[in-house]
Symmetry: C2
Subunit: 350 residues, 2 copies
C-alpha cells in the first residue's frame, strides 16, 4: 500500500512541478468558496471493507414469519429457503402435534453461517391460523406479537443505560401463504393482509404451485394481484418506499410480474442428470424447486435473501417501527413508555 523508500535523492531526479494541473473537483456540500481538487487516492471507498469486517464479526439478525392455513407447506418452504431444518418438520405432525384450537405463535432461533457471515435467524410460525371453524379476528394474536416486538425494541431504545446493540426480535418479513385454488383470494386472506400490511412487510406466495399448470398459474397470479390492488393492499416492496429510479424499476418488475411468487418447497434431494437437486418426485417427473421453469422458488429466495434482505430490515426499522413508535409516543403525550421493568434494567445496569 505504501511506496517503498526512494533510493536516489540527488537533485537530478527531482524537478519542481508546482502548480500541477488539478483533477476532478469535489462536489461542495454548500458553496464554500474554496477551490477543492483531489490530488490522488484517499481511501474513502475503504469504508465498504471496514463495514464488511464489522459485519463479519457481529453477524446480523433476520426474523421471518410464516402465516397460512395448515397443509400449505409453510415449514417445508422455510426449510427450503434456508437449506436446513429451521422450522418444525411437517412429518412430526402425524405423531404428536395436533392443529391448535387457537392461533399460536412459535419462534425458533438458529445461527446459520455462510461465507463467514453469521445470520441469527428466527422463524416465527403461526400454527392454527385459518384452521378453525370460525376464523374471525384470527389475525389479532399475530398483530399483537408483531407489536410486542416493536414495544420491546422501543423500551430498550429509550432506556437510559441501553445496550450497544439492541436485540432485534422485530418481524422483518411475513410470508403469507395463499392456497393454490385457482379461483380467488379468500375473505380471510384479504382480511389478514389488509390489517397486517400496515404493520409488517408482507410477501404473498402461492403455496404448492405444483398443483397448477402454467396457464392456471399465470391467470391466478394476475387475479390475485388485481384483487390485492382493488382492496388497496400494499405488499412488500411498497411503491411509496422506493428510494430512486433504480429501486422503482427493479421493484416494479417484482410487483407487476413476480408477485405473488408461485412456489414449491422441498427438503428432499434427488439426482437429475447427474446433479443433486431439491425436489418432489411424482410418477410423471421430478419437480425441481430451484428450476425456474418448474416454479418460482428461486425468484422468491433471491428476492428475500439475496437482494432485499437488508431492505426488508430497513423498511421494518424506518417505516413500520417508526410508525409504531410515533403512535406510542403520541398516545403517551410525547413521553416514552416507562415500566417498572425498564427502571429495574436501568438500575442494575448503571
Amino acid at each position: 500500500m505504501f511506496k517503498g523508500p526512494v533510493e536516489s535523492k540527488n537533485e537530478a531526479a527531482m524537478s519542481e512541478l508546482v502548480p500541477e494541473p488539478r483533477q476532478k473537483p469535489v462536489v461542495p456540500m454548500k458553496p464554500t468558496g474554496i477551490n477543492t481538487n483531489l490530488l490522488g487516492y484517499i481511501g474513502i471507498d475503504t469504508i465498504i471493507e471496514q463495514m464488511r469486517k464489522k459485519t463479519m464479526k457481529t453477524g446480523f439478525d433476520f426474523n421471518i414469519m410464516v402465516v397460512g392455513q395448515s397443509g400449505l407447506g409453510k415449514s417445508t418452504l422455510v426449510n427450503t429457503l434456508f437449506k436446513s431444518q429451521v422450522s418444525r418438520k411437517s412429518s412430526s405432525w402425524n405423531r404428536e402435534e395436533k392443529i391448535p384450537k387457537t392461533v399460536e405463535i412459535k419462534a425458533i432461533g438458529h445461527v446459520i453461517e455462510e461465507g463467514g457471515v453469521k445470520m441469527k435467524l428466527t422463524v416465527i410460525d403461526t400454527p392454527g391460523f385459518g384452521d378453525q371453524i370460525n376464523n374471525e379476528n384470527c389475525w389479532e394474536p399475530i398483530e399483537k406479537y408483531i407489536n410486542e416486538q416493536y414495544e420491546k425494541f422501543l423500551k430498550e431504545e429509550v432506556n437510559i443505560a441501553r445496550k450497544k446493540r439492541i436485540p432485534d426480535t422485530r418481524v422483518h418479513c411475513c410470508l403469507y401463504f395463499i392456497s393454490p385454488t385457482g379461483h380467488s383470494l379468500r375473505p380471510l386472506d384479504l382480511e389478514f393482509m389488509k390489517h397486517l400490511s400496515k404493520v409488517v412487510n408482507i410477501i404473498p406466495v402461492i403455496a404448492k404451485a405444483d398443483t397448477m399448470t402454467l396457464e392456471e398459474k399465470t391467470e391466478f397470479k394476475q387475479r390475485v394481484r388485481k384483487e390485492l390492488e382493488v382492496n388497496g393492499i400494499e405488499f412488500y416492496p411498497q411503491k411509496e418506499f422506493d428510494e430512486d429510479l433504480e429501486d422503482k424499476t427493479e421493484n416494479d418488475k417484482i410487483r407487476q410480474e413476480s408477485m405473488p411468487f408461485a412456489v414449491v418447497g422441498s427438503d428432499k434431494e434427488y439426482q437429475v442428470n447427474g446433479k443433486r437437486v431439491l425436489g418432489r418426485k411424482t410418477p410423471w417427473g421430478i419437480i425441481e424447486v430451484e428450476n425456474l421453469t418448474h416454479c418460482e422458488f428461486a425468484l422468491l429466495r433471491d428476492f428475500v435473501i439475496r437482494t432485499h434482505l437488508q431492505d426488508l430490515k430497513e423498511v421494518t426499522h424506518n417505516i413500520h417501527y417508526e410508525t409504531y413508535r410515533a403512535k406510542r409516543l403520541n398516545d403517551n403525550g410525547g413521553l416514552p413508555p416507562m415500566t417498572v421493568e425498564t427502571e429495574e434494567n436501568h438500575e442494575s445496569n448503571l
Copy 2:
C-alpha cells in the same frame, strides 16, 4: 445465477437419493432439539453486497476536528489527508485573517467521492486555540461545541416524527497537534487532552515532524506516550473498547508504536524519480509526505481513513454519545430533553 431448464426428464436420468448424508450442522442459538443441516448455498453472505449497494447510494458522514496552536500546519495536514482543499488555506493568513482573540469554531463541509462512495466530510477548525497570553480554559468552547452536536442528535432521536437518517454533526475524530519541541508536552496539551478525551476520540499527532531527526523523533514519541500514560489520558483507540483479540493486537501496535503519529503535511506536488509525490522541497532534499521512511503521514492516513474510520464513528456513537445521553437523561429524571423547537418539528412533520 439460476440453473437452466433440464432437458431430459425420463426416469433413467433420475435416481432417488434420500436420505442424503447431511453436511455442516448450523449452530443452534439455544437448544431447539431440531436437526439442522445445510443442503447447499443459501446466500447469507450477500448481505455484504446489499449493504455495499446501500452505502453507495446514501454515502456517509465523517466529521473531523483539528486542534492545536496556530502555525502547526493543521489546515495543510487535513488538506493532505483528503487530498483536496477542505480546510482554509494557511497562505490566506497573511492577507486578511488574524489570530482570533478567543477560540473560534469553524466547520466547513464538503462532499468527496471516491470509487463511487460519497463522504460528507466536515472539517472543524478551532482557530485561536492556545494562541492567547492566558490560555486558561480555552478547551471549554471546544467541549461545548462537541456536546452541542450530541445534544442536537439526541433531540432529533427523541423526536416523535424523526428523520429517517439523523443528520450526524458529531465530531468523530479530534486530531490534536503537538508542537515538535523535542522536550515534553505542555501543560495546555495535557489539560486539553485530559478534559476532552472523555467526550471525543482524540488522536495526538506530532506536527511538522520534519524538524526532528529520526533519533529525536523516536525519543520524543516515547516521552509523549509516557506522559500521557502518567497523566491517565486515554487517546483513541481506547484499550477498554477493543472488542476482541484481533482488535487488541492491531490497536496495541498503534498505541505502543505509532502514537503519536509524527507527521508532515503538504499540498504541493514534486517529481521524484519520475513519480509525482506530495512533498516539501528543501535545499537538502524533498520530504515526501507519503514516504514512510520520511514521516508517518501515511500511517496516520491509513489509520484514520482506511482502517478505523468506521470504528471512529461507532465509538463516537456507542461510547461518547451514549455517555452524554445517559448523563442528560439522568439529570432530567429519565425524561428526554424537550424543546419548543422539537415540538414544532413534530407538528409540521405529522
